[in-house]
Symmetry: C2
Subunit: 311 residues, 2 copies
Amino acid sequence: MALLIDVKHPDWMRDEDLRNELLRHYPEADIRIGDHPGNPDEIEMLTVSTYLPGEALRYPNLKLIQKTGAGVNNILGDLNLPQSIQVTRLRTDTSGGEMAEYALAYVLQEQRHMREYRDLQSRSKWKAFPPRRAADTTVAILGLGRIGQLVAQRFVDNQFKVVGWSRNLRHLPGVDCYDGADGLLRLLQQSDYAVSVLPSTTQTLGMFNYGLFKNFNARTIFINVGRGDLVNEPDLIQALDDGLLAGAILDVMSVEPLPADNPLWLHAKIQLTPHISGYHLGDAIVDIAENFRRLQSGDSLLHLVDRAQGY
Amino acid sequence: MALLIDVKHPDWMRDEDLRNELLRHYPEADIRIGDHPGNPDEIEMLTVSTYLPGEALRYPNLKLIQKTGAGVNNILGDLNLPQSIQVTRLRTDTSGGEMAEYALAYVLQEQRHMREYRDLQSRSKWKAFPPRRAADTTVAILGLGRIGQLVAQRFVDNQFKVVGWSRNLRHLPGVDCYDGADGLLRLLQQSDYAVSVLPSTTQTLGMFNYGLFKNFNARTIFINVGRGDLVNEPDLIQALDDGLLAGAILDVMSVEPLPADNPLWLHAKIQLTPHISGYHLGDAIVDIAENFRRLQSGDSLLHLVDRAQGY
């Protein structure tokens, strides 16, 4: 029984490096890497960041696909994925904390007019703008799972007014919570910033379309650190051009890396980063080795995905 | 008995606006503004942001100078200031919190490579850098008075390693504290960021000179949200050019507004903002009206400055 690591994201993490890390926790394991999988019949667990359609079928005895992160929609969306294959994801406390930090960093950049000051400095020009006070600023968090809770708490800790939305109503300290379609509209109308950490499911795919942007208010800045395919990108551009919202900060896009000729790159109201908001796995990496051990012993797996629910 | 408001900083706060605010708290007060002081003999309290040398001598019966902020070095440095005149400053919870937020915002900008991503976006280029982890980053706070404590706590709340330095040793939760000349050097050597909120006193004036920058480490970014005259600016430029430290983020300078031909403006390793890190007075404004009332009733004043100590 072997674990195959095929991350397919060498700029982020090389298969060899992850293999070495896992061997520290499980030295006797048979762990292989994407370039040298050996006999495919021996692969019972596959660890990926990017999952390719049909990939599971290469390994006739595959029992488990372990994602090196939280989002499993590409795996579950594979129509050829046998029902018998289980899917697990990772704890996201480290990367979720980094996503919260990213959202805070970009919100503070806007609150403190940092881009304007950089331009003024290049012209040797002294001109002050009042910083916008956190206590007078409402940040909406869309999606209140583990990552959303970390993001919400980070803004609470930094003295912002925080509102949150989730499919099923949550109760979080310091956060005014909403649910349902009506709740989403009421939340968007009061938001200065709207941060999406929603998962990609059949219900959320493409949900940020022109119709929803009509319910934003004109001052809102939309921040997407969740999943790129939730956003209808041509609609986002049209909505920005029409002044339905003030700006967008996108760490995720529907196609990554974003092609150089994509109009998102040079839009004046869009700031882009290359999917780096949550970067480090931290201690969560140990759970990959632990899941390989449990798969062999038959124990229940860590962070098992409900394939019907989608996360 | 009259209170004269002469802020001399109209872009920040107009005298009339402050007068109206104070009258809300003390409607029957005789409050005048810089353009219309009336009979100078009647002025017993003067409220300023910028204090001009000799200004106190214009008002023969002046008893109290109230600063609209924390820094009183220009007032105390006036050799013509009669010993009988008391000096008070303001509580700085609101502006101190804003200074903490400013320091955090600029630190996060560096941690998250935000300037690099902005440049990459302008070239439609997808390239990721690992964000630097807060837990692996040491922020040094120089000056642990009320503002310094707010700054230190903000970085603790955002998961940074925090060290602090003050003239007399302090004990703060979550902060590794140092004092004395040796302590300063030990602190600087381990700092990724060094944030100064030190007051301007005879002991701190010009302390950030080439000799001290030699004790920085090459990766340190120096952030000054305190007082501009603590920095020997030609020495700072030389130290940056010599690679003694990695960069400087300056919200305060020795001359403000900074003249357009000053070399600080266009130095590649310097980021400048126009003294806006702490901007709002918040509730502290009430204490100006209260001090005018106490001056008249003979009660002890709020936030009285020890003129010998300098703050």
